[in-house]
């Protein structure tokens, strides 16, 4: 039996804009964001849910876009790094990452910032140890971790 892609109609909101699309049912949310919507901020790091570089917000909650089928995001609201501040402006966390030198190559950075936005909103910033624990799903091979924690601390307050 010949098999081919099963095309599925799906509608989802990304950064406040509604998209009505027809996609291969096997497409991940990450690939939809990057390849179809050209929002390349979310990164393909490990593509197996172990690095966090693909982190986006879905209905306000941080999740790994590489591990969700795009069609299962139907009807949901997604926010990516491109949508956290108006064009030309920086989100406070983006400014903090720059000020605290919380990146080197920058590859993990969009995922770090999306996770950090959620981490603060969740209230998991009581101590630096708690920040480290609740940011543990985001790996940084350049080892910017101390500066990432400092950046988050500077926005979250004490």
């Amino acid at each position: 039996m010949e098999s081919g892609p099963v095309m599925v109609r799906t509608t989802l909101s990304v950064n406040g804009t509604s998209h009505d699309l027809v996609v291969d049912g096997r497409t991940t949310l990450l690939d939809l964001l990057r390849e179809t919507l050209h929002l390349t901020g979310a990164k393909v790091g490990c593509n197996q849910g172990t690095c966090g570089a693909c982190t986006v917000l879905m209905d306000g909650k941080r999740m790994l876009s590489c591990l969700m089928l795009a069609v299962m995001a139907s009807g949901r609201s997604v926010r990516t790094i491109e949508g956290i501040a108006p064009a030309g402006e920086l989100h406070p966390l983006q400014a903090a990452f720059i000020e605290h030198d919380a990146l080197q190559c920058g590859y993990c950075t969009p995922g770090q910032i999306m996770a950090a936005i959620a981490c603060i909103e969740e209230g998991h910033v009581g101590s630096d140890a708690e920040i480290r624990e609740y940011m543990s799903g985001n790996l940084c091979r350049c080892a910017a971790y101390p500066n990432i924690v400092a950046a988050i601390r500077s926005v979250a307050g004490s």
Partner: protein, 306 residues
């Protein structure tokens, strides 16, 4: 196959480990998204996200082992999406199973076990067979195994309930069969008998990294103490066996005795009496008994055991 959070399914489909002909998205079944802790039964709907239960104040107060097992699992991104029912059904981390092509009796029956003479540092010291030594790596099921837990299964034919120990299978000669789940069935709820032992419980997870890693060895312990006298002990092992494992052998070393450093150590040793090491997983035999003993101490609430 059913798909809910998708954090196991999408990963293994992309890796060529699972190749379902079709998927049924059950993530919208609202009736499976609630949990209650009232009266004699804790009932967790299968589609409750891990994060929701992990951060429930009542669960943390009355059954810390259960809440801690969720808090120490995965990452917040995964916990927001992965479900309590789905997490039970996670597949082994065995690299040979997951690479999609190595000889693996679990993935393709009859092809052999690459881990027996291969890289097996993370493989089981308890419950393995000549066909498969893959570890069940999940924390939630381990903590549940320490309590009187039943799994509720539903299908077009109705509902049935299995004790957790009957739900999870040892590999034996059929490692491809991991649970009692039948075609057409889904897990709809997890039921835990309420017990005062829950309040004096803990989940201790020891791993290579401080966070975001699977257990090298873990233990769930719940105790009922009368002064220093152990009236009831519940001990389950994680990271060392082919399925979530309650250790009656360990419990027998504690119950009816005064709790001491000696009895805790003897409980840890007893838990691993039947253990068999492979060429690279001896660490589990050194670490496992100590994790059990330390978890007993933590559950007891004492800073030290005399």
């Amino acid at each position: 196959m059913a798909i809910a959070g998708g954090t196991t399914m999408v990963d293994l489909m992309r890796g060529g480990v699972l190749s379902p002909h079709s998927l049924v998205d059950i993530s919208g079944l609202i009736e499976l998204k609630s949990f209650s802790m009232v009266g004699p039964l804790l009932r967790f709907g299968a589609l409750v996200p891990m994060a929701e239960a992990a951060e429930n104040e009542t669960l943390l107060r009355d059954y810390p082992a259960l809440a801690q097992s969720l808090q120490q699992a995965a990452s917040q991104q995964l916990r927001n999406v992965a479900t309590l029912g789905g997490n039970l059904l996670q597949r082994t981390r065995c690299a040979y199973y997951r690479d999609g092509f190595s000889p693996c009796n679990k993935r393709v029956p009859g092809t052999g076990c690459s881990a027996l003479d291969g890289y097996n540092r993370e493989h089981a010291v308890l419950g393995g067979s000549d066909s498969c030594v893959a570890v069940y790596a999940g924390d939630w099921a381990c903590a549940l195994a320490a309590f009187d837990t039943d799994i509720e299964l539903s299908s077009a034919n109705g509902q049935r309930v299995l004790p957790l120990a009957a739900f999870f299978r040892e590999p034996g000669g059929t490692p491809e069969i991991e649970t009692a789940l039948q075609p057409g069935e889904i897990v709809t709820a997890i039921r835990v008998a309420a017990t005062p032992a829950g309040r004096r419980s803990t989940y201790l997870k020891v791993r290579d990294r401080q966070s975001y890693a699977f257990a090298v060895a873990s233990a769930a312990v719940a105790l009922v103490l009368d002064g220093d006298f152990v009236r009831e002990a519940r001990i389950a092992l994680g990271g060392v066996a082919t399925r979530p494992l309650r250790s009656r052998e360990a419990e027998a070393q504690l119950v009816g005795r005064r709790l001491s450093a000696v009895s805790a150590r003897e409980a840890g040793v007893a838990a691993f009496t039947a253990a068999r090491t492979l060429n690279a997983n001896g660490v589990k035999l050194r670490l496992g008994p100590r994790v059990v003993a330390e978890a007993i101490r933590i559950a007891s609430g004492r800073r030290e055991l005399a």
